[in-house]
């Protein structure tokens, strides 16, 4: 029986005081890719915790293997909320992160990804890496749900260990898909704008 998962979800909720909004989108167990801006170590955990329990059970966050396999505590945490670990260093052609993600999710799991690749320094969103595009291209049936995470960079900024329990807000936006024949840069710009738009709503 996994107790760490629900426990961590509770701690994350208390610590981030997150209010959750679903705008033109409802929680669902269908296969989705939640993509969000990345400002804090807490992002993946808080996003995961803000989903309803049944959705949480089929949702896996994508995270860096080099970070989450350092030490038994991190490894235990990663295992307890079923994180999908990706090698950032050893990327091979037939073993690319997108391939691994597709293989791991099968026809069941949803994903949480942070297309910026790393946490931003000042809370501003950086450019998106192309992983999201290739993911959408290989699996056009996946719903791409933009998520804006507000104020988490103040709860636990980059380079800090101790969190400050401020209030944050997580906004889920309307799902989007890759249009037929849509070029990569255009799609990535559109995806980034979808998150940016939630910031203003």
């Amino acid at each position: 029986m996994n107790v760490t998962g629900p426990f961590l979800a509770l701690i994350a909720k208390l610590l981030s005081g997150a209010s959750v909004r679903w705008l033109d989108c409802q929680p669902d167990t269908c296969q989705r890719v939640y993509f969000a801006n990345h400002t804090s170590h807490l992002d993946a955990l808080v996003l995961w915790a803000s989903l309803p329990r049944d959705v949480r059970a089929v949702t896996r966050a994508v995270a860096a293997r080099d970070y989450w396999e350092r030490g038994p505590v991190r490894r235990h945490i990663a295992a307890s909320f079923n994180v999908l670990l990706i090698d950032r260093e050893k990327i091979k052609v037939h073993h690319s992160p997108v391939e691994i993600m597709l293989r791991e999710i099968g026809n069941k799991y949803s994903l949480i990804v942070f297309p910026e690749g790393g946490r931003s320094e000042n809370g501003e969103m950086g450019e998106f890496k192309s992983g999201l595009y290739y993911l959408a291209k290989r699996r056009p049936d996946l719903e791409l749900v933009p998520v804006y995470m507000d104020n988490l960079n103040r709860v636990l900024p980059r380079g800090e260990v101790l969190p400050v329990p401020l209030l944050s807000c997580i906004t889920f936006g309307p799902p989007m898909w890759l249009e037929a024949g849509e070029p990569k840069t255009q799609f990535l710009t559109r995806a980034r704008a979808a998150i940016q738009r939630l910031k203003e709503m």
């Binding site: 005081g17 209010s19 103040r154 900024p157 800090e160 101790l162 400050v164 401020l166 209030l167 807000c169």
Partner: protein
């Protein structure tokens, strides 16, 4: 901390006066519950009116407000019944949440992170710990935040090396800590006082586990009454808005009417307190004015930040701080007046 007094005890063991709350407190509680029940019934009746004859949104807001009061009353009474410790803890939770809301609304910078950690994790709990310890540590809890935190916080920010808007940032954190934590902590600190009447006669049960629960309840009642009565007076007669840029719904008529009527009602409840009738009137008036000033100040902060409510980052939900702003400002005033005029020291 004195041991808790469990609710069943006071229901069953009326004969055992030593552990029970004083009789006056029960009467006060009875009056408040009666008023609440009346307000609830009034709300029900208003709801039955045919649509169109009344402002529905107004009725809904009235009913919502009454629900919030029932909840506040239930929580406060439960904590008071349980004992001093739980009451102090309840106020700690309220303070903590209010401070979260305040700092969330206030822009701080990366360099403030460590200072904020101290504010939340060290100073806030420590303040309430000192208030809750048995034996009155007034000398410590009255200086912890103005002196210790007041000097420590800017120093910690300076050490982190970010000078941008330094004065503004340290002032914002200091004000949040002062209003949400320091000021409010004087409400549960009332439990530490050894009350006398103004003639110097001891007031209250000697070895009661809940010495001043009634007085704390009385204080909350004054502030809440003033808040609702000024609203009523504004709706009835309100013409001259005090400061339109700060709060468009607070008028001079509401202010005067609210303070006067709250003073009158609470003066009539003088028998629940160590005050005489005219003393109770003076205390209520001062507390009501302080409470009104509190909500004006917190409105000004909200306008400065360009938000309607503290609530959350999502607009439209009033938060904890919106409900306690007047309590925060009135608590230290009430505490110190009581301490000065109606209290003995060992």
């Amino acid at each position: 901390m004195t041991s808790g007094c469990f609710p069943p005890l006071w229901i069953l063991a009326q004969a055992d006066e030593s552990t029970a709350i004083q009789a006056q407190t029960y009467w006060l509680l009875g009056v408040v519950l009666g008023l609440l029940a009346l307000a609830y019934l009034a709300g029900r009746v208003l709801k039955r009116y045919p649509p169109g004859s009344l402002n529905l949104a107004l009725v809904e807001r009235f009913n919502h407000r009454i629900r919030v009061w029932w909840m506040m009353c239930a929580i406060l009474v439960a904590a008071l019944m349980w004992g001093t410790g739980p009451t102090v803890f309840l106020f700690f939770l309220v303070s903590f949440w209010a401070l979260r809301e305040f700092i969330t609304m206030t822009p701080t910078r990366r360099g403030d992170h460590r200072a904020l950690f101290w504010v939340f994790i060290v100073f806030t709990p420590l303040q309430y710990l000192l208030v809750g310890l048995s034996g009155d540590f007034y000398g410590l809890y009255s200086i912890l935040i103005p002196v210790v935190a007041g000097l420590f916080v800017p120093a910690r920010i300076a050490f982190s090396g970010d000078h941008k808007r330094f004065l503004e940032r340290s002032a914002k954190i200091a004000m949040g800590l002062f209003v949400c934590v320091y000021a409010l902590s004087f409400a549960p600190a009332l439990m530490n006082l050894r009350l006398t009447t103004s003639a110097g006669v001891k007031w209250g049960e000697e070895d009661s586990s809940l010495p001043n629960a009634g007085l704390l309840f009385y204080f909350v009642l004054i502030v809440q009454l003033e808040d609702v009565l000024q609203n009523v007076w504004t709706r009835l007669l309100g013409r001259r808005v005090i400061a339109p840029a700060i709060n468009a719904s607070r008028t001079w008529e509401g202010f005067l009417g609210g303070v006067t009527s709250a003073t009158l009602v609470c003066a009539l409840l003088w028998w629940a307190t160590p005050f005489r009738f005219w003393e109770a009137a003076c205390m209520s008036m001062i507390v009501a004015v302080a409470g009104f000033a509190g909500s004006m100040v917190m409105s000004a902060v909200k306008r400065d930040r360009g938000v309607a409510d503290y609530g959350t980052l999502v607009q439209g939900h009033p938060g904890v701080l919106d409900r306690i702003d007047s309590l925060c400002f009135a608590a230290p005033v009430f505490y110190h007046l009581t301490r000065y005029f109606f209290c003995v020291f060992l």
